[in-house]
Amino acid sequence: MKTSSVKAKEKVMQWVFTLCACVSILAVALICLFLFANGLPTLGKIGPLNFLLGTNWKPGNDLYGILPMILGSIYVTAGAIVVGVPVGLLTAVYMSRFASPRINRVLLPAVQLLAGIPSVVYGFFGMVVLVPAIQQVLKTDFVRKVLHINNGKGMSLFTASLLLGIMILPTIITVSKTSLDAVPESYYEGSLALGATHERSVFFTLLPAAKSGVMSAVILGIGRAIAETMAVVMVAGNQTWMPQGLFQGLRTMTSNIVIEMGYAAGLHREALIATGVVLFVFILIINLCFSLVKGAEKNA
């Protein structure tokens, strides 16, 4: 009698566990379903080409072209990579192969702290520190007369890239450091035995061996940068024109949604949801790249 009730309980709980595991499948399915069901008809209504390649976003005139925002997202992400990857990668190399354990005991928690700071706080910091600072620098005679950069703005592609570059540092550092640490010690020793210096061994033996790990770090960084919303809204200026240069404002897909969703209605609102769909597709492609790189790593 007792054993049968225990058995029933075992069976029931096994089903409960399985169902819980399926929640993530359900969540992804629902997200896909609701986004695509709401976004794709809009795409048809506006016309896919008008929507994706249109250069004018003027909801007042029923013009919904998101090319400026797509380019905005791509430029800002590229800028973040240019800022974040060199610094992050070199920091990872330092932490993995140059720093003493004592330094790492301080540096490792510091990097984790950097990852923990909420994006609003980053955005606020950018707004009150980076934007005015860059504005000041752009006003100097050197920038105006020697570099010929006139009427540059503090809220710009440059500022957003700088801020996002800082924000993706922890991702780049932790992922590349993990892969650098995983390279067999014999590679390093072999290089030393051939007469290479410590630096040469690190940069020409260890770093190439950790190539796929570094690649995944960069891809994760791209994912974080393109997905970032609040920090970018606060420093990028958010003009809906086509990106005009390094020191001019622009708007990303994420900021487009967050700025206008509050008051949008009708087709305007649907166009914003469709913007979300485009962003979602971008992220899915990045995820796919990530799993391909990881798969290649496993096979190697």
């Binding site: 928690p109 994006s119 609003v120 606020f124």
Partner: protein, 304 residues
């Protein structure tokens, strides 16, 4: 420079190997190698210094500018347009965190239990679960916000509410809880399970009385990490829980968490002092939560 490794020009001295290997290299090459080594050594140091400097400057700046603005008026019981008190937002944050965790923690832990303890090797479902969890992890918070708005707010007619926000955030942090729990469960030695089976306990009993308690610190550090994400989240909440700065009357009331509050203040630009003060509270709160998580995870690593 307090580096553990001091690389000498031309040759090399590695802290652990203790061996010196200086092969004969032509003088010209040696000079090139020396220059390369020097440049690279300083480049990596500068990069690390830059990372540390950014962190110190950012946190330092917010603290220095914000702490003088932590006035008593910032902590008054109600919010109004003259006095932008953060207390209602703080209470809402606690409520939001509690509700989200109440949904995400059991789901995440049970899902991880299934993945580690029950699923058979090579099960197709495991692959799908892993794939979808990874996908969830990469989805931008604004997309979660959009989905929450479309599904919980509109489709289920919950309106802009605490519960819509909580469900949205629960989906967002589910992968965090799942992954850390999975790692913690995998770290429990198999001999514990075998011992339990040997004493006649069933699978379920083994899971609840042996495996889960052993994995508790790891699970806890994951849950605390999830708390950190919930407290710092803005984009997913603006269009699900919306922005009413009052203590909610029911789970269907609209609420404003501290991070959303901070964003709105910074955007309005009317109460700059109060914004600095709020930034300090938010930053310190999130950093403390993250430190706690790291501390527990560190203790776990030492205990092994």
């Amino acid at each position: 420079m307090p580096d553990g490794i001091t690389a000498q020009a031309g040759g090399c001295e590695y802290a652990n190997s203790g061996a010196r290997m200086i092969p004969p290299i032509p003088a010209q090459n040696r000079r090139g190698a020396r220059a390369f080594a020097l440049v690279m050594r300083w480049l990596v140091r500068i990069a690390a210094l830059l990372t540390a400097a950014v962190l110190i400057f950012l946190i330092g700046y917010i603290l220095v500018m914000g702490i003088p603005n932590l006035k008593a008026s910032l902590f008054e019981w109600t919010y109004n347009s003259e006095n932008v008190s953060l207390v209602p937002a703080l209470i809402n944050t606690v409520l939001m965190t509690a509700f989200s965790l109440a949904i995400a923690t059991p789901l995440g832990i049970f899902a991880a239990v299934w993945l580690v303890e029950y699923a058979k090797r090579g099960n197709k479902l495991v692959k799908v679960v892993r794939l979808t969890t990874e996908t969830l992890q990469g989805i931008p918070s604004i997309v979660f916000g959009l989905f929450g708005m479309l599904f919980f707010v509109n489709q289920l007619h919950w309106g802009y509410s605490l519960i819509a926000g909580a469900f949205t955030l629960a989906i967002m942090v589910l992968p965090v809880v799942m992954r850390t729990t999975e790692e913690a469960l995998l770290a429990v030695p198999d001999s514990y399970r075998e011992g339990s089976f040997g004493l006649g306990a069933g699978k379920l009993r083994t899971v609840f009385t042996i495996v889960l308690p052993c994995a508790m610190p790891g699970i806890l550090s994951g849950v605390i990490l999830a708390v950190g994400r919930i407290v710092g989240e803005t984009a997913a909440l603006i269009y699900t829980a919306s922005t009413v700065a009052a203590i909610p009357e029911s789970v269907f009331s609209s609420t404003r968490t501290l991070a959303v509050h901070m964003y709105l203040l910074a955007n309005e630009g009317l109460h700059v002092d109060a914004t600095y003060g709020t930034a300090v509270v938010l930053l310190v709160l999130v950093l403390l939560i993250n430190c706690l998580s790291g501390f527990i995870a560190g203790k776990l690593a030492k205990g092994k």
